[in-house]
Amino acid sequence: MNKELLDTLLRELCMINGTSGREEKVREYILSKISDRCECTVTPSGCIIAEYKGQKRREKKLMISAHMDEVGLIVTDINEDGTLSVDCVGGVNADAVIGRCVTLENGMKGCVGSPAVHNLSEEERKKPAAFDSLYADFGTQDREDALKYISPGDNVYYENNYHVSPDGYIFSKAIDDRAGCAAMIAMIIENELSFDTTFTFVTAEEVGLRGARTAAYVADPEYAIVIETTTAADIPLSEGAARCCELGKGAVVSYMDRSTIYDREMFALSRKLAAENGIAWQTKTTIAGGNDSGVIHISRGGVRTCAISVPCRYLHTPSCAAKAEDYYAVYRLAVLMAENIGILG
């Protein structure tokens, strides 16, 4: 495992902007890293299907998948005063957007505004922000001025500020799911796998697992490993099972979430491989969330699927928090699963 490569790939990928439907810059970056090592095709829905050649052939085809898109904002209208109405792309809470600095897709800097707290009634102060009352402000004087720079349908991104703490915690937007993309690129660059494998970098997970549906159809595998991030709530505001999973406790292997009941044998194999190889692992203590496995495991005639995830706090906010050692654990476990999946026949 090349930690330096994994770190660099994650940082560079998180800094790229690419909401659902607008993954082109992420795709270009990934292709620049892997196209000399894999036979790559881009599907009509924008997914990369990368055929990796190992020294050995598999009896049953394995697909490893991660999504390229991130949550963000989209301009829905331009107001008379030059501000922009915005809505969310993917599951974004308005309270994670209000009062933040943002960047327009053309690089212009701005912020998401709302009336000053001083002028709100007691009742209004206790009301969570909602998108219909938010607007982005890029300093344009009026509607006419704004139209010189901005069109409805343009994307607005969280201002990024990739930061690694002294104890190895990573704060950034888009760790969901650039961590998965980075891990897959590293596996390819480092030639970690001895078997032929299909890597799929998919679009539009955040708006309903859309790209993975088509990628799984095209790849037509028997097995799938989804590399993802998953909600950790190990903060002082929650206790017990509500914490879901915890940073620093290793790779999260799921048995069930809102979209999938995972393959029992793959679940067992991943735990066994983790234990045998000294890789920290955990599972989720609540049935919550979901990921591309939801559509992959029911693709065509069915695909045996597992998900290996990086536990991540504050998902879908401008500052997700993950721990590097968990990300490395996910990488190692995914490699072991890919190498040993043949055991299951």
Partner: protein, 331 residues
């Protein structure tokens, strides 16, 4: 340094109420380019320009401090925080902050994932926790350390800037602009850059007492019109200086300021307040025997968020107006 750069530099320095020493030191050094008579007294920066005994003695004030939080407790890598000044709790989830510990530590305000929060509500003040990304926060951070928004000031289009703490670094920028305009004119005045405005205007109370001016002119920010605000309560971003009219302000000065703005073609709006002004001017007007107070305010959008917006042209308008007023008072 041009004005936009000055504003961004000032806004880039922390200074939560009670912890203004870094911004005070920075401002003292800048003021020393104009006058040798600069000191820091009880946290306030005080600078005298010209001969002290000249009448009327005019004081220009802006506040050093900004809203933020203070560390009250620890749990592993998390610090419990309490608000300092009027925070907008609606914006707190996953907000980026800097904890000013032994060294500056970046952090995130904790928030529960949506599917785990039982009801959708605004965070309570006692639910503020900051994730420091440390295994043990106490290694770098102590009780009473301050926490500010981590939001660098950024130029927007044209003459606007966006960032945390423009309340009231924009006011400080006005005072530097005035010093620049008057640097060759030998007009006497005193600058007060005061602490603790966000916690009951405390620095203004002591600074006003020490300086004991005849006239106190306050440069603070006020509300600029934006979606959801009432036009009657607001100035306009890029619309010039806001001249205060209030029962606690000196009406004669307010009228003079308005006349100057009209005569000189300085863009302005009358800011009418039916009671107190919510600024340090309220303190000055009842300090000692009472000082004749005025407010010249900079319109600002999204007050007390990390994404406040001002237009530097408004800062220029405020400075031109005040400089002209001072010239006339000394004629």
């Amino acid at each position: 340094m041009d004005l936009k750069e000055l504003v961004c530099t000032l806004a880039g320095i922390d200074g939560v109420s009670g912890d203004e020493s870094r911004i005070a030191a920075f401002c003292k050094e800048l003021l020393e380019k104009y006058t040798e008579d600069v000191c820091i007294k009880n946290g306030n920066v005080i600078a005298h320009f010209g001969k002290k005994e000249e009448k009327p003695h005019i004081m220009l004030d802006a506040h050093l401090d900004r809203v933020g939080m203070v560390v009250t407790d620890f749990k592993d890598g998390f610090v419990k925080a309490s608000p300092v000044g009027g925070l907008d709790m609606r914006i707190m989830p996953a907000q980026r902050v800097t904890v000013h510990g032994k060294e500056d530590i970046k952090g995130i305000v904790c928030t529960l994932p949506p599917h785990l929060s039982k009801e959708k509500k605004v965070m309570d003040r006692d639910e503020l926790w900051v994730d420091t990304g440390l295994d043990k926060a106490e290694k770098y951070i102590s009780y009473g350390d301050t926490i500010s928004y981590d939001s660098p000031c950024t130029p927007l289009l044209g003459t606007r800037v966006c960032g945390a703490g423009l309340d009231d670094r924009a006011g400080i920028a006005v005072i530097f602009e005035i010093a620049e305009l008057l640097k060759d004119e030998n007009i006497p005045f005193t600058v007060l850059l005061s602490t603790g405005e966000e916690v009951n205007e405390r620095g203004a109370a002591t600074g006003g007492y020490v300086i004991d001016p005849d006239i106190a002119v306050e440069f603070d920010v006020s509300f600029a019109m934006c979606g959801g605000e009432k036009a009657s309560k607001c100035g306009k971003l890029g619309g010039g200086a806001m001249i205060g009219f209030s029962p606690v302000l000196d009406r004669e000065i307010s009228l003079k300021l308005r006349a100057i703005a009209e005569e000189k073609g300085i863009p302005y709006k009358a800011e009418v307040m039916s009671g107190t002004t919510g600024t340090n001017a309220d303190r000055f007007s009842i300090c000692r025997e009472g000082q004749r107070a005025a407010t010249i305010s900079i319109p600002l959008r999204y007050m007390h968020t990390p994404a406040e917006v001002v237009d530097t042209e408004d800062i220029r308008a405020c400075a031109r107006l005040a400089a002209e007023f001072m010239r006339r008072e000394y004629k």
